[in-house]
Point group: C2
Chain length 337, copies 2
DNA sequence: CTGTTAGCGCATTCAC
DNA sequence: GTGAATGCGCTAACAG
């Protein structure tokens, strides 16, 4: 039924070794035999079996990707960056959603390893000891995207979330704001949650602005959450003049709550955040935000992984922890007080 | 270095067949030996090699997904639907972006088939003869998502794009509009382009409204395109009172052009479209649109594929072409004239 | 219930 | 340049 390398060999009147050589572009084949083999391949409609090849060569040219949620725009951009570079280096991607659930993450890491991927790209919630444990059982390289482990034991590419948040809040302060509220993510989340909150705190401290507890509320990163949490700030006696949200989605949600309550952004209340999702420039007013280059993080991670897979890098290199630059995108949601 | 099923067998004092049985949950193993084997597995840190398993069993429990662009929200929702169901049936997903480029699509179909996927999910641009040709070389089932081939030769799941567009335009007409412009996709695109345009035309005809050439403009589905194309309508002597856009993104772009030019939506001009992306309810006014259930299309496609892979379905079944229902979502961008 | 035996389709020595 | 032989790690009869 299925035509194998052996069938091609017989059809072309050569050995299977020779067929293997031409299929793999080995130069040690006389042009004439090469031609014969190609013709036989064509005639028989031969398609190499990558599974058999993988077993024999111990390489599958596929990498595993563990991602929280592919339907979330922030991650789908990252995935696109990964795939583009993977494609460029002739790798395929096995994609697994894990929803930041620890046990699901561990589970998919293991099945990916069982599938003999040549490398692994991981982005998720916190990197716990259990994760590290699972990573250590891997014989193939692993790169953490948009996250990192505490001890820098694994390669990673990310931005400096703390500094990004700091920069956002600092812009507010430079514009004369002192009553600055924050819609944070959960503080259990080291990157988008904790680090961004730390940046907010540091910026306030640097300007001698006391931290007010009623100015900080926790959301879940999503639009609906921003919509909800912003209501709280509206009810305060002393309303904030600016809101810093940990993510664009929450910022846009907050903007809409303000607008739906008759307030103008930025005239009455300024809004700023971190991410720069596509939607940030698709709302009115357009959102001022700190760009987190998701596509680039994906692309750079994948590139780093290819190097690791080819052992191009010396082990404990400086390349292992890359921090990509972030950038303040000035749009129309921040006003001078 | 790597521990194999043979090592486990030796460690547990049984044959490799027995180890294989316990790993694959074959009931024909005495509980006691099962226990011994599990202990050996644990002790050695054995991880089954799915590639070897795939070669021996001729099943890889992975399916290939060809998608235009995972970073496009409409497709990433679909991908999520696919992945959730795949996960439920213990399949993994190899994801390939093909950007609706025919040759790239053909290429990835072939590499996916080389990787011995157990099935293929295809969504792309037009399904040409070359595609059909490639599909026919496949020995594994294929399901087309959010598209279909002209002869219904392959299984597919989609919505009725023509009717969806018709319903949208009909709502406009019911609200008293007669000057209805359309921002269409390219007419080469059978589903999102041509079919939606046909629905627009039929709705006008049904209401005896003559089709005006200056009321139809072609965009590329994206926000920026809607932004741009809408300007044209503003310059017309007889401005439309309503705009039907083939996609939400273009509709939102159009809305913003209108608003940026001092017009109110829907008071001055109504806007409606098809898709119901998440953003449709995240703009002001919230967009009235016909929901295309992308997640469901993905989920149903994958479910259908599992059936095909298990040969659960009789061949020429009615199940093969499924059309999912669409639904008019009434929000705030359409006004009575 | 368990072990033996063959492959699965290919890459890869090693000879020639 | 080319061919023969071996094995990658596992499943799947088949026997017992």
């Amino acid at each position: 039924m299925t035509v194998t390398i052996y069938d091609v060999a017989r059809e072309a009147g050569v050995s299977m070794a020779t067929v293997s050589r031409v299929v793999n572009n080995n130069p040690n084949v006389k042009p004439q035999t090469r031609k014969k083999v190609f013709e036989a391949i064509e005639r028989l409609g031969y398609r190499p079996n990558a599974v058999a090849r993988g077993l024999a060569s111990k390489k599958t040219t596929t990498v595993g990707v563990v991602i929280p949620d592919i339907s979330n725009t922030i991650f789908s951009e990252l995935a696109r960056g990964i795939e583009d570079i993977a494609n460029m280096y002739h790798y395929n991607i096995i994609l697994c959603n894990a929803d930041k659930k620890k046990d699901k993450e561990i589970r998919v890491i293991n099945t990916l390893l069982e599938k003999q991927v040549d490398g692994l790209l991981f982005m998720g919630g916190a990197v716990t000891d259990e994760h590290l444990q699972a990573f250590k059982t891997s014989s193939v390289p692993i790169v953490l995207c948009a996250t990192k482990d505490d001890n820098n034991a694994f390669a990673s590419v990310d931005i400096n979330h703390e500094q990004a948040a700091f920069d956002a809040v600092e812009l507010l302060i430079q514009n004369g704001h002192r009553n600055i509220a924050m819609i944070s993510g959960t503080l259990q989340d080291p990157a988008n949650g904790f680090a961004r909150y730390q940046g907010y705190k540091r910026a306030l401290e640097a300007a001698n602005i006391p931290l007010r507890e009623d100015y900080v509320r926790i959301g879940n990163y999503r639009y609906e959450s921003g919509l909800e949490v912003a209501k709280h700030f509206l009810e305060l006696n002393e309303r904030p003049t600016a809101i810093f949200a940990a993510t664009d989605e929450m910022a846009i949600g907050a903007m809409h709550t303000l607008q739906d309550n008759g307030l103008r952004v930025p005239e009455d209340i300024s809004v700023i955040s971190v991410d720069n999702i596509r939607m940030a420039s698709m709302v009115r007013p357009q959102l001022t935000t700190v760009a987190m280059p998701m596509y680039d993080i994906g692309a750079v991670s994948m590139r780093l992984l290819t190097k690791l897979m080819n052992k191009e890098t010396k082990d404990a290199s400086e390349l292992m922890q890359v921090i990509l630059p972030h950038e303040l995108i000035h749009r129309n949601s921040v006003a001078h007080l």
